[in-house]
């Protein structure tokens, strides 16, 4: 780079204050060490939920409980297998942090849109699945009227869980929308920002 006194002076001023508090260094080190223990949450979920459904199946002896336990453990097994395969295949590169800003923004915007679409698709699938399960259970179960069935404890519990999941999904959808707006704004401001050279070439190409 050729000598540029103004930039050199600015650079010296810019970099003049460069000490970092020791406690901030310690925080970073602690965070790095803590990252090595990120397997505890999924292990805990596996043990609590997987173990819980298994215990329920064993103690209750009900057919439904056994089916639930089998389905739960199948889901857990598929999730663990997929996670381990992806980690082995992609290592830490699932998110392209080391891409250029332009590529990263592009990727982040696509992921944001895909996640929002996934939430909608998941909600639709969930609604269809629950509706089918409720209908099937009513048809095959020892229930009298539809009113008795719909106000039974299990259905009420399922409705409550569904409403909570729906609220969580709605909130997440909204937050992703805000994030998407922010990413699009940054793409316009940082990557797509027109420059003098762009303006000149546009005028020349008219």
């Amino acid at each position: 780079m050729t000598s540029d006194p103004e930039l050199d002076a600015w650079r010296a001023d810019w970099q003049s204050a460069d000490q970092i508090p020791p406690e901030l260094r310690r925080r970073v080190e602690q965070h790095i060490r803590a990252g090595r223990h990120t397997w505890w949450p999924p292990i805990t979920v596996t043990v609590v939920i997987g173990g819980g459904t298994l215990a329920w199946a064993v103690t209750s002896g009900e057919h439904v409980a056994a089916q639930t336990a089998v389905a739960t453990w199948l889901f857990i097994a598929v999730t663990w297998a997929t996670t381990l395969v992806l980690l082995r295949r992609f290592g830490g590169r699932l998110r392209p942090d080391a891409a250029t800003t332009a590529s990263f923004l592009d990727f982040a915007i696509r992921v944001c849109r895909a996640t929002r679409a996934g939430i909608v698709a998941g909600a639709v699938l969930y609604a269809l699945f629950v509706s089918y399960m409720l209908f099937w259970r009513f048809q095959t179960g020892p229930f009298g009227t539809a009113g008795e069935y719909l106000f039974s404890g299990r259905v009420v519990a399922m409705v409550i869980v569904t409403v909570l999941l729906g609220l969580a999904g709605w909130r997440r959808y909204g937050r992703l929308g805000m994030e998407l707006e922010g990413l699009l704004a940054m793409q316009r401001q940082i990557v797509d920002m027109p420059t003098v050279s762009d303006d000149r070439s546009r005028r020349a190409n008219r």
């Binding site: 000490q19 080391a98 800003t101 762009d198």
Partner: protein
């Protein structure tokens, strides 16, 4: 000690060496993207951890400095996209200057540094990042590699940004 990293074809480097080399620049980046001091510290921590974890994946496709700044910029962008937009409060961002300078020199440098940082914070984001990366010592090519724009684009933005900075610094006197 938090382990060490061995760059391709180079000797092992401990975490402290990486922290000392890139920490100040990443701290300044955090100050550009976060307003409150606490948020700046959180962002800096996030960026530093991301850099340390990503370094083993560096295969020499770009310089180490470019690699680090790419990660830092992208992490900061992720952070900012999840929060309401706000300009950085640069008056809180700058730390105690290097001890090798005299107290008088430190006071002058610090004051000029603060004014410069405040002026840079007022630039549009596309100009601000080009200027900031240039002031961190990256070449036009490296800056273009970090942002994913052309080298001529970097030059054009830098020219405009410098004119704006001169005006802002003159108004500030």
């Amino acid at each position: 000690m938090v382990d060490r990293w061995t760059p391709p074809g180079g000797p092992p480097r401990p975490f402290d060496a990486i922290f000392d080399e890139y920490g100040p620049a990443l701290r300044r980046l955090a100050a550009r993207f976060a307003r409150a001091r606490g948020d700046q510290d959180d962002l800096f921590q996030d960026v530093m951890v991301a850099v340390w974890r990503a370094l083993p994946t560096h295969r020499g496709e770009c310089s180490e400095r470019t690699f680090v700044f790419r990660i830092a910029e992208n992490r900061a962008i992720s952070y900012l996209s999840r929060r309401p937009p706000a300009t950085a409060d640069v008056s809180e961002a700058l730390e105690v200057p290097a001890p090798t300078k005299t107290p008088e020199q430190m006071a002058v440098h610090n004051q000029r540094g603060e004014r410069l940082a405040a002026a840079v914070a007022q630039l549009p984001p596309g100009h601000r990042e080009v200027v900031a990366l240039t002031l961190e010592g990256l070449s036009y090519q490296d800056t273009a590699d970090v942002l994913g724009i052309t080298e001529s684009n970097v030059g054009a933005r830098l020219t405009r940004a410098r004119a704006q900075l001169r005006q802002l610094l003159a108004e500030d006197r």
